[in-house]
């Protein structure tokens, strides 16, 4: 009985917090612009502000995917097929970019190619190339995470057998008949996810390219003009059109991913342990530059936070000072200090955790509980928890801004935790996806045995369930905290028109300050360094507790 109550509360809470804002936002946009999907799509190329955006978004996403695979596969191969000293450290370094907040990466690359770095930031070719490479930087981790376990746990007998067969005499033959089919689903999954992440890119596009927009960044830019009756109707159409396209792409990729997941699990037999024994010295030519590549934007950001530019009639010089840090943390009448942003970010992260973790867990448990008796309802619930995956961060931000806040604007604007709504919307589905397999793998016999020993329900939870799920819970906790702290798209949309601030939003605001102020860029880098440091801490902690399962994203 208590059981059912928790389940219904969870489902209701989730629907109110997550589904309803999106629904309300779309309702509002349709109210202003009218229900005509064809018009929406046409408005994208029919308006100057969004002209060419669809083409650009697809183009850069495709190129990013290709480049990511081109860079990532050799690295995954080296890591998967050979033994390396400090293997886990190298792997962690190479997969760490994935969890970095996008705004930190944006600052990093900006400084890498800027005047205090390589100084190649000249025209749109360099911007575009940098964008692609930045996407590859982020998504390398996916290629490695998906492909490396497959490579390293392959039963060596299969390869040995292949070498002895005519089809496998040559390297190409082996590639075609063994490696390609083996890796194909993992590569496809990595490609699919890379495409999606590049497709919905915002922070990088905003800072690295000038004037180019993806669907995501266009939506963010015009969001504040939307949802107002009889005002800039075209912008509402653009947002609806962009959302429709993004939603379709995201759904398609969700489908593709689940199909591929299925295929990956039924493939060639794998040994239970890592079977790789050989060392490859020449492989350092690939792995070493890769490690440098993974670390360079972060080093650039930290380094740039101490470089202050001085310009006068004799020219430009740089000095090493902490003024950037002081500027960031001092604040002024018009800009909050980094302390405020830090306090807010940590606060939001904790509140998000306190909501998303129990909520996601309860939802996962509910799905599991009703799976046997009512599989269709369980399916529906499962799909419902995936809805936020089909919405990009900006869409979620618009959902909160146009949907939720409009319900009672006065309340929501004065309510400090309002941005948490967006964070909960984004993190809860991840908690469900982490907890569901963990709960599934929990043998029910443990709970039954404890029942026969006379242990009451709450003690069973504390003494048995919790400890057995510890690893997954910790991963869920760390992931939720990291996502909330680094969240940019939704937070940017929600906090723009108010005085809420978070670390990522503050980095963006600092860098956007116009006029000749030599402290703003170093200050932005200083705050980025703080955010980077916290993220690294969380990431290292998570690596310790990650259950050693085959190639999942987490």
């Amino acid at each position: 009985m208590k059981f059912r109550l928790i389940s219904s509360c969870a489902v209701i809470a989730y629907t109110l917090l997550v589904v309803v804002p999106l629904w309300l936002a779309i309702d509002r946009l349709i109210w202003v612009a009218g229900f005509n999907p064809l018009d929406w799509i046409n408005s994208l190329d029919g308006n100057y502000i969004s002209q060419g955006v669809v083409a650009f978004t697809f183009l850069q996403a495709l190129l990013s995917t290709v480049v990511t695979l081109a860079i990532g596969l050799p690295i995954a191969w080296q890591l998967g097929r050979y033994k390396w000293p400090l293997h886990s450290l190298i792997k962690a370094t190479l997969t760490m970019p994935f969890v970095m907040p996008s705004i930190v990466a944006a600052m990093g690359f900006l400084h890498l190619i800027g005047p205090s770095g390589l100084n190649i930031r000249i025209d749109d070719t360099t911007w575009f190339a940098t964008l692609i490479i930045a996407h590859a930087w982020f998504n390398l981790a996916l290629v490695i995470r998906f492909c490396e376990p497959v490579l390293s746990t392959l039963d060596p007998k299969l390869e040995e057998q292949m070498r002895l067969l005519p089809a496998g005499h040559s390297k190409i033959g082996r590639f075609r008949n063994l490696w390609a089919p083996l890796l194909a689903p993992s590569v496809a999954a990595a490609a699919c996810m890379t495409f999606v992440f590049s497709f919905t890119s915002f922070a990088l596009v905003r800072w690295i390219t000038l004037g180019d927009n993806t669907l995501e960044s266009v939506m963010a830019n015009i969001g504040s003009s939307a949802g107002i009756p009889n005002y800039m109707l075209a912008r509402n159409e653009i947002i609806l059109g962009a959302s429709l396209i993004q939603f379709t792409i995201l759904i398609a990729s969700l489908w593709l991913m689940s199909w591929l997941q299925h295929r990956r699990q039924n493939l060639l037999p794998q040994a239970s342990e890592i079977t790789v024994k050989r060392v490859n010295h020449r492989g350092w030519m690939i792995v070493f530059p890769a490690v440098i590549f993974a670390l360079s934007p972060l080093i650039a950001v930290f380094w740039a936070s101490f470089r202050i530019r001085h310009t006068d009639s004799s020219g430009t010089s740089y000095s090493w000072e902490t003024s950037g840090w002081e500027f960031a943390f001092a604040g002024s009448g018009s800009m909050s200090s980094a302390w405020d942003a830090l306090w807010n970010s940590l606060g939001y992260a904790m509140i998000t955790l306190c909501i998303a973790l129990p909520l996601g867990w309860a939802l996962a448990q509910t799905i599991l509980d009703i799976e046997k008796e009512r599989p269709k309802t369980a399916r529906f619930l499962d799909v419902l928890t995936m809805i936020p995956f089909a919405a990009s961060s900006v869409m979620i931000g618009l959902g909160v801004m146009l949907g939720m806040i409009r319900v009672n604007a006065e309340f929501f604007y004065s309510f400090w935790p309002t941005p948490v709504i967006a964070h909960v919307m984004i993190t809860t589905p991840f908690v469900v996806r982490i907890m569901l397999p963990a709960l599934r793998s929990l043998n029910p016999i443990y709970d039954e045995c404890a029942q026969t020993l006379g242990i009451p329900a709450w003690r069973r939870f504390m003494l048995i369930r919790l400890p057995l799920l510890r690893g997954s819970i910790l991963v869920a906790v760390i992931f939720t905290l990291a996502m909330s702290l680094g969240e940019f798209g939704a937070s940017w949309v929600v906090t723009r028109n108010s005085d809420w601030t978070t670390l990522p939003v503050m980095i963006d605001s600092l860098r956007s300050i116009p006029y000749n102020n030599t402290y703003t860029a170093p200050a932005a880098c200083a705050v980025s360094s703080v955010l980077m440091g916290i993220t690294l801490l969380l990431f290292t902690w998570a690596e310790k507790f990650r259950p050693a399962r085959d190639g999942g994203m987490f």
Partner: protein, 373 residues
Amino acid sequence: MKIYSLGVVFILATMTLTGCVSQKIDDGVIIAPSKYEWVDDGELVIVTYDVYGLNDAMLEEFERQTGYEVTLLKLDDAGSVIDHLLQHKGLQVADIAIGIDNTYLQTAIDNNVLWEHNAVLTNISDLALLPYEGPYAAPFDQGYICLNYDSSVVDGENFTVPQNLWDLTNDEWSGKIAIPSPETSSPGRAFMTATTDYFTHDDDNETEWTDWWTAMSRNEVIITTGWSEAYETHYTGGYGEWTDGYVGNAHAVVSYCHSPGVEAWSAGNWTKSVSLDLPRASFHQVEYAAAIEGGNLDAASAFIQYLMSPEVNSKMPTENYMYSTLKGMDLPEDDGYRFHSRIPDQPANVSATKIAENMENWLAQWNTAMVDA
């Protein structure tokens, strides 16, 4: 299976969306903030973009004089300020809007988001009152929008100095002009308005102002969201090369006729930026401070009073890089400020009424013109 279900959910959900929920919300059923009661809570929230003159010293002095606590809500440009006013209509989240100009003001007034302030304004120049003289907005600075070019590059040898706007559509200017968008920026909108007048009065009866914009779009004109991006990041003739993020690919930009003066004054009487004074290719812009409906009217009025006081307003040229709106004020002469600033001979003549009637159409036409390239 999962994905089909998701698709079905989406289709069902969108089909039930007819906007009826939002209609109800806006009819006042769920949102019910009062539109007529306001409280003087000792706080002043200013909605603005990066108006340079609203610096810490100036705000602290106001706080000291009146006891109000000031919070600054900084948005991107005039367009965002209008968006904010409309999005938050009646919600009492801000008290005063600063930075709407005479090309944006009518939208604000038409949508009933402003309130009559009760500051007493005296000694305002006739020129500043020309576009608007009513109780809803107080003119606090003004200037002439026009094109600036980098005279070290555009010297007549490597680059021809434009004699009319059509020259800017020539190949040599391809990708080398930066103009802020009229949809979001007030200088951008002002310039667009000027072009509506320019091309009505030029020798060519066959082309319209929209044709020029189409030609500019074909010629890869750089359109930015705001003035600062155009001037700092793209323009080579200004202080941009000393800012972070400088790219420097434009040799002409839409800015103010007195921008070269500001450059000279900041750099010790030297600048390479020059205003391009073509007849009707410049626009007289006035920027306003206006009390927001439902906000703290006393606080807003007090700030307007402060902003319009001789002590503060006389410093517009030095603190805010714009002309003052008080009678008898001019730019300082030091360091070539006044010398390098131009007052255009023949600015565009577009009445406030004409702007009010046509702005929406003009923006739509501009959009189409740019897309048609």
